[in-house]
Symmetry: C2
Subunit: 149 residues, 2 copies
């Protein structure tokens, strides 16, 4: 991650989850929705289409795996995925678990109301469940890749 | 595209652009923003992580190429990409050209105000420019793939 620094605004709005192959996984510090953010560790990247083909593939694979894990971990109705960057230009991808009747459903989460910080125990429990599903999905993907060799 | 039918609400809100390898490219019939929608031709798909790895890769590659083409064609400040599906569950990916000061900038476009239909000539001119950039990008990608063989 040489030359890569997490944008201070992203750092301030989120909690650390883990480091993935493509970059940093963070949890938005907003208890209204289970909301993860993947920040590819590519200095200066702002648009998905600016990534090299190999990095883009990795970012998309990890984004989709986070979405699958978040859906399994939360039992949500729908995953919302988005790369906007109108405010913070550093490339980051939102992966959000949405439930019917959640705040602003079925509208988007961005720009809606005020952030409500997680209680630490609840954030840790969510992170634990998501990471456990991520490991399971990674193992399943590895097995499928082996079988198709 | 056997067994695949475009959701009637998506069909009603958009104009046909072209058929890509992964599915249908449509233009949101809303002149407030240049706003494309890719609908992967996968019957029953709702989440990106439900796609097969090969189809997911194709959808992401084409999404990123549409984003690059839309940025070149419009000279926009930022591309916004999103897969929400809270209202229309059929998997579809939004690719939107955003400009500082455009309606609801820097907030999201979804759910904001009322749709304003394109004047036909303007929609066709936008589509023509985007498709021309798509062809250029596809040729560049093919050349790069040749060089890296």
């Amino acid at each position: 991650m040489e030359g890569f620094d997490l944008d201070p605004r992203l750092a301030g709005d989120t909690l650390a989850v883990t480091r993935l192959e493509s970059g940093l996984l963070r949890l938005m510090d907003d208890a209204r929705w289970p909301w993860l953010i993947l920040v590819p560790a590519v200095p200066g990247a702002a648009e998905l289409h600016d990534l090299t083909p190999a990095m883009a593939r990795l970012v998309h694979e990890e984004t989709d795996r986070i979405g699958a894990a978040l859906k399994r971990a939360t039992g949500c109705t729908k995953i919302n995925t988005g790369a906007l960057g109108n405010v913070v230009r550093q490339l980051h991808i939102h992966i959000i678990a949405r439930f019917e009747g959640d705040p602003n459903w079925p509208g988007p989460v961005w720009g809606f109301g005020e952030r409500q910080a997680w209680r630490p125990g609840q954030a840790h429990e969510l992170i634990r469940r998501v990471m456990s599903e991520m490991e399971r999905l990674q193992a399943e993907a590895a097995q499928q890749a082996m079988r198709s060799m």
